[in-house]
């Protein structure tokens, strides 16, 4: 018995000793960043938060190897906005209050606007006073100094007069132009560009989410259609849907009938008989598009679709797979900037056990990187050694300086982050070239991206062409 007791004692002692060893890591001063992301609900993509965490992990490894910042680290406080702006506000405030987040990463347009509005309403108590950087906002109204709204608070937020709001994804206006370039690239027998149903006119039906994302995209499409200067003029039929509907229970059939018939119900009070559409464009969150397409494909619809960036979601592909073969659309490119994109892709694939980056993963990664680099710049400029003493406004002001023209190019990866940290510590300018694009912020906090024309082939999205919206607002086709 004594032997057994001794053996047990030795075993337990060893375990306890080893457990104690596990907590011997030196403490590093933490700077908290919040991410209020749709982790559940119809807009959610799990890999976004994975990309955000990856950025922090890479940065923390990079800091350890740096000369000046080895004693600090970044922490990510995640919150689920559940595809609901009200939840975004609630959890954004929690992250700010409970985790001391110095900046917030947001995703959808409505969530971003709702959080940004806190700084413009009459209640100073709810002001976050931290920069927001949105990695999935495409509404042209956001960060638009001429945006209008019946709600003055919303209008101020959209105009971003306080410069608190940034985004890491280009707005939908260039994409709308590219979509219609693609749609009208071929002339039918009637000689009218895009007239695939040969009725002598080009008509598109836009099925859009009745929120700032959908409405903004609709307006961009209408402007792009008008700019085509077709004869006869391009017709845009509008059909909104409630962004809060349940995609699993919604009766999509009725809307499909409206989209495919010859009646233009843009004004429900005075429908017009103006012919069947040549094309349907779905401006919808991913799971809405998936549910819509499932019904559409099983009901034998014949009007072609042209999809937008949201369709490129993994959720859509998972639900419909190769049934989508032949479907086409546009999106921001998944990866850009050569080495920056490739390094990010390999890092994320490793973190996800081989799963390749999905749409907007690189934007999530870049948004996080920008905030972290800006934090280091702000600390340097303010002469702070304690990241906890940083203020949101200091980070806000430093964000544009992460991409200084003429600064040393910084790409993605641990070594590159170390290099950036050392340069910042030395007071040198940096120019971050992200995995999603150049991440060059304009005066309104917006960036430009390149676009891809994709097609589903063999159950996967395959890029067929690239449009360089960084080089020119006309988004020229690149070979």
């Amino acid at each position: 018995m004594g032997t057994t007791g001794l053996r047990n004692g030795v075993l337990l002692g060893t375990v306890c000793a080893l457990l104690a060893c596990g907590s011997s890591e030196p403490k590093r001063a933490a700077l908290s960043l919040g991410a209020v992301i749709d982790r559940t609900g119809p807009r959610a993509t799990a890999s976004w938060s994975q990309s955000i965490r990856l950025a922090a992990d890479v940065a923390n490894q990079g800091l350890l190897a740096s000369m000046a910042y080895a004693g600090m680290k970044f922490e990510i406080a995640l919150a689920d906005s559940n595809s609901d702006p009200i939840e975004a506000v609630k959890h954004g405030r929690e992250v700010f209050r409970e985790n001391g987040a110095k900046a917030l990463i947001t995703d959808s347009s409505e969530d971003d606007i709702a959080l940004n509005m806190l700084g413009y309403d009459a209640d100073p108590e709810n002001d976050l006073n931290v920069p927001l950087i949105c990695m999935a906002c495409t509404s042209p109204s956001i960060n638009n100094p001429t945006a209008t709204s019946s709600d003055p608070v919303r209008q101020e937020a959209l105009r971003n007069s306080g410069k608190w709001n940034f985004r890491a994804l280009m707005n939908s206006t260039p994409q709308a132009n590219v979509l219609l370039q693609i749609a009208t690239a071929q002339k039918g027998p009637t000689g009218v560009p895009g007239d695939s149903n040969r009725d002598g006119q080009f008509k598109i039906a836009v099925y859009y989410s009745a929120d700032s994302f959908g409405s903004g995209f609709l307006q961009a499409l209408k402007s792009a259609a008008a700019a085509l200067n077709l004869m006869p003029s391009a017709i845009v039929e509008e059909l909104p849907f409630d962004p809060k509907l349940n995609p699993d229970t919604y009766n999509w059939s009725a809307d499909i009938d409206k989209l495919t018939d010859a009646i233009n119900g843009t004004n429900p009070n005075s429908p017009l008989l103006d012919g069947k559409p040549d094309l349907i464009i779905d401006v919808a969150p991913p799971q809405f598009s998936a549910a819509l397409m499932r019904v559409y494909l099983t009901s034998g619809g014949s009007v072609p679709f042209l999809h937008i960036h949201n369709f490129r979601s993994t959720s859509v592909l998972r639900q419909l797979g190769s049934e989508l073969d032949g479907q086409e659309g546009t999106s921001h490119v998944l990866l850009d900037n050569g080495e920056s994109g490739q390094v990010f892709a390999s890092l994320l694939a490793a973190a996800q056990n081989g799963i390749a980056p999905a749409f907007e993963d690189s934007n999530s990664f870049d948004a996080t990187n920008v905030l972290m680099l800006a934090s280091l710049i702000a600390m340097k400029q303010s002469g702070l050694s304690d990241p906890g003493a940083l203020t949101g406004s200091q980070i806000r002001d430093a964000i544009p300086r992460t991409s200084e023209p003429g600064g040393t190019i910084i790409r993605t990866g641990v070594d590159e982050f170390t290099k950036a940290a050392n340069l910042i510590a030395a007071g040198s300018a940096i120019n971050y070239e992200g995995a999603s694009g150049p991440m060059d912020f304009d005066a309104n906090g917006n960036v430009l991206n390149r676009l891809a024309h994709w097609q589903v082939t063999g159950g996967a999205f395959v890029d067929m062409a690239r449009y360089d919206c960084v080089a020119s607002v006309s988004c020229p086709l690149r070979p």
């Binding site: 018995m1 057994t4 053996r7 047990n8 075993l11 375990v15 080893l18 457990l19 060893c21 596990g22 907590s23 982790r39 559940t40 119809p42 993509t45 799990a46 890999s47 938060s49 994975q50 406080a77 995640l78 689920d80 559940n82 939840e87 349940n246 995609p247 699993d248 229970t249 009766n251 999509w252 059939s253 499909i256 991913p286 998936a290 549910a291 019904v295 559409y296 099983t298 009901s299 034998g300 619809g301 979601s313 993994t314 959720s315 592909l317 998972r318 639900q319 797979g321 190769s322 049934e323 073969d325 996800q352 056990n353 081989g354 799963i355 390749a356 999905a358 063999g458 159950g459 996967a460």
Partner: protein, 792 residues
Amino acid sequence: MFTSRQRQDSRGRARARGRSLFRPALPLAVWLSASLGHADEPANPSPPEIEPPPAPLIVDPPAATTPPPPATPAPATTLAPVAVPAISPRPTADPASVPPADSAPIKNIESLDLKDLLNEPVVTAGGGIEEERSLASANVYTISRDEIAAHGYRSLAELLATVPNLYVIDDLVLPSLGVRGTTGGVKAGTRLVKVMINGQSVNFRPELTSFLGPEFIPIEAVERVEIAKGPLSALYGANAFIATVNVITRDPSPSLHVEAAGRATFYNNAGFGGSGLLNYGDKNRGMLLAITLDQIDRSGINLQRTFTNDYFNSDLFERRSNDDKANPLGVFGRFYIGTDNVGRFILSAGLQRLDSKGEFQINSVLTHQTRIALVNAWLQLRYEKSWSKVSLVATTGYSQGDPTSDYRLNLTGNNTSLFRPNYGYKAVDGKAEVTYKPLGERLSLLGGVDFEWTREQVLYYTQTLNQVQGLLQPGDTVDLIARKVSREQTYYDVGAFLQLASTPFTRLPGLHFTGNLRLDKIAFGPVDFPLQFSWRLSAAYRISSNWTARLFGGQAFQNPSGVMLFAQPGFGSANNVIGNLTVAGLPALSPQNITSTEALVSGRLFTYLTLEVAAYYRALQNEIEFTRQGLDFVATNAGIDRGIGFESVLRFSYRWFSAYGNASFDAPIRDGVFGDKPSPLFPRGMGLIGLDIHVPQIYLHANTQVRIIGPRGASQSNTYINNDRFYELPTYALWDLTLSSVGLRLFGGDSETRVLVSGRNLLGETAPDPGAGGFDLPRLGRSFLVEIRQIF
């Protein structure tokens, strides 16, 4: 001469190898035995405590020409084994042919001492060759028929939950089993554990999971259950990964043996069930037939908020399960015929119908309509023949499983359609195995080949509409699988194996070695897996008459299931398990491998106490992990998962009182140091303590036990929903009390009437177990079982 089920005690008498639940010290037991008319045990108050000489590791079957002892009618004592040896000699040792204890001459189980618990024969660790448990080539835990009866267990899930370092998560449909810190993740079932009946793997192939409920096998047919922990692919091929569970069935009795039982279970509502067993046989022919059918109503439980999330509407937490009935049906039959000269043919067959409402399924919470209904059937024909130094076993089998037409899945809050999974299979398998003993006890060689061929439907869902959808009308169905995707895939596994067992040194008769090697060639649809190599080494040494020490090492593999490779999404828009090959561009899943080493010491202290202590290290490579893609899960190969742990089992027995307990601890190692959190879906520590009181004078046996489960890590899914914040589920304790009658002979003769009343979870513990998809699994509260059993 003795059959393989017998040993000689110090006085040269045949001793049954059965296992007592309450392991009483002998004086009272012998007196009781005598009083019950068991003349084969002298009424000698002195227990047979004199140690026999160290037994050989391999218990050799008798010579083929040796007749068995004459069959002795079984006096039907309460917990005593019933049957006598009906099949002898055993041509070769194999789990499928190993006769259970009840085929030994009748012994009152009270006549067994604690040493028998350590020296009882087990077969699972030796690939069918019988070994003493304390010297077996793996850490084997056994649960006997007596224990099953004394606790009123009706399912494997119930009894496996009491095994050290096994953790059962019950979603009230298909329990999942984790072992030593390793789990299969979301809805793993028994994927990481090979579950067998008499050495024959019995599972639902598309998910590589066995039904652990009452439908697996009528519990009446079970003689004992052996749980061999550690990697055993080298013996049993793919998926004998972290443990192997082998259900050994009863052998036929020489006279017709009939059991019939009726029972009522009470949760919030009453349920009823019945079971029966018919058992008869002699040396040359025999049969065992058993059936069980229950209806169990689990209604009335609700979800608990275990973390802050807005994933579900709050009203879902207010609702209770309704009409949550399970109707498990299990049928088992075993028939044999043959002679010593021509060999023996054994036909075994089973039917398992899992039919359960699913109130707590992912994406389908409290719908009151979801019903999981699967039927699995299997059949095996076995031939055995022995010569002087050589024995041969050849088997062939067929199995088939499908969802029944009753299977339906409803989405939470969505009645627009219902879903039915398609993932049936048909499989054939076979094995040829030869054992050669050129040097008697000194050396035993076993080698053979086996194969399995399975045709599986890939998992896809068929949606049945409840409302108009485009051109489709209510009642129309849509197969949620792309036209280009193959709906069936073929799997094959061809394996070759070799086992060497030896007691190499004459001067060290207590030192035994066993080594195993196995190669498997596996392909599944388009995936051609690399050649899989498994090995196992074991060294056992009898230190003294009371103590033994063992060292084990081995490597096993688990190949991905059809669901992991090919499953299609479709049941709702999130939380589906999607096949690895369904995701374009993802590298094909590789088998995962585990390497484990273990040291085990077992022995006896102060006559009344036995102790077993084990410590192990495990390293899981190419760990198959569920990674989120979009909002679904995809099986991927992750890195390495390491951990260490220990287990201890203590038993005490004195007169009419016995007590037992076990404790286990598992610590994951992360980044080279011990993790400060428990593994997901597995407790860091757990234990059990219980006692038995056996008072046949008043026809009573009482058992009570408390099982304590330590903090368990949340699932990856729920951690994600909790914004990547890991959380633990709190410790809980379950107290059970079971009273059963003994020796009640209402109808005289050899018949016996048994009455059992069991209270489960008497404290009404409601602490949940880890779930996924936004909720943790609620626990059934206090329940009661009343059973009346008549044995003729």
